[in-house]
Amino acid sequence: MKPASFKYYAPESLEEALVLKAQYGDEARILAGGQSLIPAMNFRIMQPTVLLDLNLLAELSYISSKESAVLHIGAMTRLSEVEDDPLIADRVSLLHESLPYIAHPQIRNRGTVGGNIAHADPAAELPVVALATKSRFRVQSTNGSRWINSDDFFRGYFETAIDSSEILVELEVPFHAASTGWAFLEVSRRSGDYAMAGIAAVITLDSDYICRKARLVYLNLSDAPLEAKQSADMLVGETLSDELISQVANKASEEEIMPMESLHATVNYQRHLACILTKRALKLAYGRAKET
């Protein structure tokens, strides 16, 4: 239960961090909050030879809304800061609502937005929220920076589109559009545990309460956050009757998700959870969309 030896760097600027990342490539792991990396090192599941600790980089810790309609969150912003941010609570309520589901308060005090996303655990909350809100990620290397859409970012278990010379520096989250309702729900065995199943639902209505846009994204029901596009499309152009909601829930849970049997849940049980969560989430999101 002790980590193997490694060479430790604590760069004092992003510039310096990028040079080190370019130099060491895959050999160097980024140390953000350490709340996923250090447990893995304690178990020696991971034995990186070089750690680049980003904790001195205040320049990567911010929540800013200089542009209208979007919010930028620096990669090293702590999860607890996002949880407490009033602007996020108001304008990206889905993100706000997902935060308390992530681990425990002490873990959120240390864990970062960038770490939660870069780690790409299919059971993590922020990747699901990012996909549901159509967020983008900015990654940077000594050669410059590029934006990656959340649709192209998650590649499977703990795999992302970040290159070995790049560091994730920022997340861009759009504000919820007008007449938009949201819901984030999950089922886990204990408070703070990784969930057995979860969902983020976002729907936008027109003035007649007809659904104009819908996104349904599932947590821990595939090897990456999974967007159920066909099921969500069934909602577009329709009013959300209980009957339609049931049809969508059945389609998503039977046909679109790809659950993997685990110690805690059989595939059938995961499909059952997905079906119930979809119904609840759609009703909640629909009600909220009508109120806004």
Partner: protein
Amino acid sequence: MSDNHLIKVTINGTKHTSSVEARMLLSDFIRHELGLTGTHVGCEHGVCGACTVILNGISVRSCLMFAVQVHGQQITTVEGMATKATDLHPLQEAFREAHGLQCGFCTPGILMSLIPFLDDNPSPSEEEIRAAISGNLCRCTGYQNIVNAVKLYLERDS
């Protein structure tokens, strides 16, 4: 390949200077190097909360940080709660009276989670108290008396 670093850190008001290997966990530094064994180690993967300490005013898991990362920072452990080593902090008094502990293994971590929480939120609801200690496992008390102890402390404090 040992990678040593010189760190200066203030723990419970006392400055310490030490050379640590990069891979040394903060929990091991506190217990083995400084001999402050009030900080307990249950799981070393962030689940149990026994190792919780206060870093610059916020609760963190000391098993999920390296000692080298606290260079220049302030830490409080359970030993630093009361004003004198022989005294108890009023929250500790309340734990004693309300039977907020049995074996006591989880207690330091619970206290280190509660102190910053109660600073931020001096009159929490029961639900908020339970959420604040939701990341701390206790195998003895069933939590009820821990919650009662916090309530007793708050009653007296007001």
